[in-house]
């Protein structure tokens, strides 16, 4: 169908880009999830009023384009804090907080979804707050949260296409570099899109399946 000048070294180059996409995603989602759980629990524990500053801070990450977050964080780290960070580090930092902001919403919602009467029952059996969290809230909240969390992780993967602004060559950027040389935009873009799709689609379906299964009981 396509007569292409794509060489095996170019494919390797693309694969490197894809690898970068995956690495950035995995790091950010991991850190972001840990932070998100932490922030989410803090927000539930403190209540809406006391946690308002934290909520506001996290809200910024959901209300300003990621592109601007990256540019600003980049400029801020270097110019104001005078830290010598690689673009990769900045990308992971911003994406981690970005993930944490959304994740804390998911965590908060799913903890709230555990009936307070169930938690009361646990406490009245002599369980401490931590035990209640560990043995009752976590397993129940996880079922509520997991499908949305999968969606979030995939979202972060797709949004990681923007880290090119801090000089991280991920998949889409690699594709653009190859388009420059090979001048086969449609073909290369389709390879790139297919890669994202092949990772995202099955996982998204899996999330949907979990949601359906767990909402039944």
């Amino acid at each position: 169908m396509f007569d292409t000048a794509l060489s095996s070294s170019d494919l390797l180059f693309l694969a490197k880009g894809a690898g970068m996409t995956i690495i950035v995603t995995v790091i950010s989602v991991t850190i972001g999830t840990v932070l998100g759980i932490l922030f989410g629990v803090i927000r539930v524990q403190l209540g809406a009023v006391l946690s308002a500053p934290l909520t506001f801070f996290l809200d910024i990450f959901r209300s300003v384009p990621l592109l601007i977050q990256l540019v600003l964080a980049n400029a801020f780290m270097g110019m104001v804090l005078r830290l010598q960070l690689s673009g990769f580090t900045v990308a992971c930092m911003v994406l981690s907080l970005y993930t944490a902001a959304y994740c804390s919403e998911i965590v908060r919602g799913s903890i709230d979804a555990v009936p307070s009467t169930t938690r009361r029952a646990a406490r009245s059996l002599g369980m401490s707050w931590a035990q209640d969290m560990r043995y009752i809230v976590m397993p129940l909240a996880t079922r509520v949260a997991l499908p949305s969390w999968i969606g979030l992780a995939l979202g972060v993967m797709k949004d990681s296409a923007l880290v090119y602004v801090v000089q991280v060559t991920e998949l889409l950027k690699s594709t653009q570099i190859l388009i420059t040389r090979l001048q086969e935009p449609l073909f290369l873009l389709m390879i790139c899109g297919a890669f994202y799709f092949l990772i995202s689609f099955p996982l998204a379906r899996f999330g949907g399946y979990l949601e359906k299964r767990w909402s039944n009981d």
């Binding site: 384009p65 592109l67 899109g193 995202s200």
Partner: protein
């Protein structure tokens, strides 16, 4: 070490231009939302149509929109489509890209909303003498609207944020594009993008707050 002195007045002097960009951003977001809703309804109907090819078309659209980066979709709308000899202005490319994305997400949403409305509702409407279309229009759609309202608001916020991707297809009249152009002139990166960030924040807050107001007025049941 390098000392960075903030020069806010230099950046603020450009505020009128930035605000013009904000207006364009709102325009694109709003248009893409209206078109997105229209296409989402169309996609939903296609999926309900019972015809296999139509269903497949709708599903393909929805899954691609949901499973590839928005940046990719917008880039595709400009450079990808151009491979077929179709030339779109940056504005059109951006609009098409975001609309494509919106429609995909909204259609999925509408499907969920439709599922949540019991079909006894249509039945009740039909048995009062309403046609299929009337039952859909007066009974199903209003209820769907309520269920989908919050997701639609979120999508609108997304649309606003997505306009920032227009620069990759040569758009420079929107909020991000204007800011980037000014940055090229003055190199006051931090100040300019901070201002743009604040404006984006204000826009998205305005959207969520007004949506909440509208919702309380609209959905009193």
């Amino acid at each position: 070490m390098f000392e960075y002195t903030f020069q806010w007045n230099q950046a603020l002097a450009r505020l009128p231009k930035i605000l013009e960009g904000a207006v364009v951003t709102m325009e694109v977001a709003l248009l893409s939302m209206l078109l997105g809703i229209a296409f989402a309804i169309l996609l939903t109907l296609l999926r309900l149509s019972g015809s296999r090819p139509l269903h497949a078309i709708a599903t393909t659209w929805i899954e691609i929109a949901r499973n590839t980066p928005a940046l990719f979709q917008i880039y595709m709308a400009h450079f990808g489509i151009a491979s077929f000899g179709i030339h779109l202005s940056p504005f059109a490319s951006l609009l098409i890209g975001i609309t494509f994305n919106n429609a995909g997400y909204l259609a999925e949403n509408f499907r969920g909303a439709l599922k949540a409305i019991p079909d006894t509702q249509t039945r009740a409407g039909r048995s009062l003498g309403m046609s299929q279309l009337q039952a859909f229009r007066y009974i199903i759609v209003p209820q769907m609207l309520r269920i989908s309202f919050l997701p639609m608001t979120n999508q609108m916020v997304w649309a606003v944020l997505m306009t920032s991707l227009g620069v990759t297809v040569g758009m420079n009249s929107d909020l991000y594009g204007v800011t980037q152009d000014l940055n090229a002139l003055t190199f006051r990166t931090f100040e300019l993008f901070a201002i743009a960030g604040v404006i984006f924040y204000v826009i998205t807050k305005a959207i969520t707050l007004s949506a909440r107001l509208v919702a309380t007025r609209l959905f009193r049941y």
